[in-house]
């Protein structure tokens, strides 16, 4: 595989060296953009135990914080950058690695530069939010405040080099070579290969077919769709399967490790300031002896039309085995929780 990575890097170098110097071109600069969000929440699991292992909103019976997210970006001519930093549990240990010299997070969610090689091709390099999956780390990008099992189990970031090809108005292709998932610094010699094919038949309809695979990382196939059927009704879809072999190989097909699942996100806008949404998820954790499955029902409202959004949420998870703890501290198959969150974006 190494020779393919080298070929890709050499090709990138050759393309970049043929670019005209930026000074020669008439450039249109957009202002430096600063935006971001803050989020805070209260969660109560009716058993009195934290139970549902959601990525964020994890503190039981506590008024807790998510993160302060600050994003700087700019585009000058064909060149652009994004620097995205975050502080707080959601933006540090719950979503990015602790791999600094003193084992601290660098607070970096996204740090990359991009250059538009032509109308059809853009190259980006750095540390980037993953292209896999439906939900994202930023609370402004999700309808529900708690997260799905598919989100928690998949990659969060991919550091690497990627090429985006606008094949036509409807089709797009991304090809990239990346570190192992969620790593600022790759500690292994192998690299991951990432592919994304996107299809947008019309405005409001988007389909993504994603693949990330590596000898050390395993292989995940993922399908994501956003379907705006009417002005008021939207359906999101996410399906994924992941496996990892004991013996490292580029394409992993193990049937006794990893996970698979399906999540549906119907959402209904009932007024200019209120939308209601349900997330139904069926998730299976593969195991050599017996798989464990969970069905999760999350009902959320998004209230607010400006910068501030309030998200009340009820969630019930039921598992094929007794994996939760009830109010008597006995194992049980279900868990029921309430979350009230506020997200301010700017």
């Amino acid at each position: 595989m190494k020779k393919y990575y080298l070929l890709l890097l050499m090709a990138t170098f050759l393309i970049c060296t043929t670019l005209k110097a930026q000074d020669d071109e008439i450039e249109e600069a957009t202002p430096l953009s600063i935006s971001g969000s803050v989020d805070t929440y209260y969660k109560y699991d009716f058993s009195g135990n934290p139970n549902i292992p959601t990525s964020f909103a994890s503190d039981q019976n506590s008024f807790s914080i998510g993160m302060v997210n600050l994003i700087a970006s700019q585009q000058v001519g064909k060149a652009s950058f994004v620097g995205d930093i975050s502080f707080g549990p959601r933006g540090q240990s719950q979503s990015i690695p602790n791999s600094g010299a003193d084992n601290n997070s660098f607070h970096i969610q996204n740090l990359y530069v991009a250059y538009q090689l032509s109308d059809m091709v853009t190259v980006s390099g750095g540390y980037m939010g993953t292209f896999v999956g439906y939900e994202v780390i930023s609370p402004t990008g999700n309808f529900n405040y708690s997260t799905s099992y598919l989100f928690t189990s998949g990659p969060f970031q991919n550091a690497g080099l990627k090429f985006d090809f606008a094949l036509s108005e409807k089709f797009g292709l991304m090809v990239g070579v990346f570190n192992d998932w969620n790593e600022y610094t790759d500690m292994t010699s192998s690299k991951d290969i990432g592919l994304q094919l996107s299809y947008s038949p019309s405005a409001g309809y988007d389909l993504y077919f994603n693949l990330i695979t590596g000898e050390q990382s395993g292989t995940e196939f993922d399908i994501t769709a956003g379907l705006q059927f009417t002005d008021n009704f939207y359906l999101g879809v996410n399906a994924a399967t992941y496996g990892a072999n004991e013996e490292p190989k580029l394409l992993n097909t193990a049937e006794d490790t990893g996970f698979y699942g399906l999540a549906l996100y119907p959402q209904l806008k009932i007024s200019d300031v209120t939308s209601l949404g349900l997330r139904f998820e069926h998730f299976v954790q593969r195991d050599a002896i017996d798989d464990i499955s969970v069905d999760a029902f999350t009902f959320s409202a998004n209230i607010g039309s400006g910068n501030l959004k309030f998200i009340p949420e009820l969630r019930y998870d039921t598992a094929s085995e007794d994996v939760f703890i009830d109010s008597h501290n006995e194992f049980t198959g279900g868990a029921f929780q309430l979350v009230a969150a506020a997200v301010y974006s700017f």
Binding site: S33, S73, V82, Q109, A114, G129, S138, S305
Partner: protein
């Protein structure tokens, strides 16, 4: 006619000229160019818009120059720091007569922008909507930004066109 007598006067303040609440906002300006004949003004304006815009954005229809414009609407923070709220598309028609020209900006459409999963701003194309005051009642701040930044853009365009016309005039005098 001598070009030395050229005096550029702008009659107008930017006038939101939307006669009804069902149309998008509209602006109209009449710019007086005393002493400049229609054919000279027409050629100067064509020269000017070809200098200012990509040819794909321009259409010359009989006596009318039509420009398709898109500008980013910015949420300003401090100085030149801000974040894009979206893109505003509109059309400008320029019509020329002896000693004056008029431009009308109309068909304003706003497409909001949002950060994608890579924290990069992208257009939410399915949310494109005409800029009709009635429809923006609950978003007065956004409407104010749209109108203010449109007006600033048209002011800049007005100044650019004046400068270009004067340049053309000077060239001809030198010759």
């Amino acid at each position: 006619m001598t070009f030395t007598s050229v005096i550029l006067l702008t009659f107008l303040t930017l006038l939101p000229a939307d006669g009804s609440t069902t149309d998008t906002i509209t602006y109209q300006k009449v710019v007086s160019c005393t002493g400049v004949e229609k054919y000279v003004l027409e050629s100067s304006l064509k020269e000017a818009v070809y200098n200012l815009y990509d040819s794909n954005a321009l259409k010359i229809v009989s006596d009318k120059i039509q420009i398709s414009v898109d500008i980013k609407i910015i949420n300003s923070l401090v100085g030149k720091v801000g974040s894009p709220a979206g893109v505003l598309d509109f059309t400008i028609d320029i019509e020329v007569k002896d000693e004056k020209f008029r431009y009308i900006a109309y068909d304003f459409y706003f497409t909001p922008m949002t950060r994608n999963r890579y924290a990069k701003f992208e257009l939410e194309k399915e949310k494109t909507e005409p800029v009709i005051e009635e429809e923006f009642k609950g978003r007065k701040t956004l409407l104010k930004k749209i109108t203010r930044q449109s007006e600033e853009y048209l002011d800049r365009l007005n100044n650019e066109l004046k400068t270009q016309i004067l340049k053309e005039k000077d060239k001809k005098i030198e010759w």
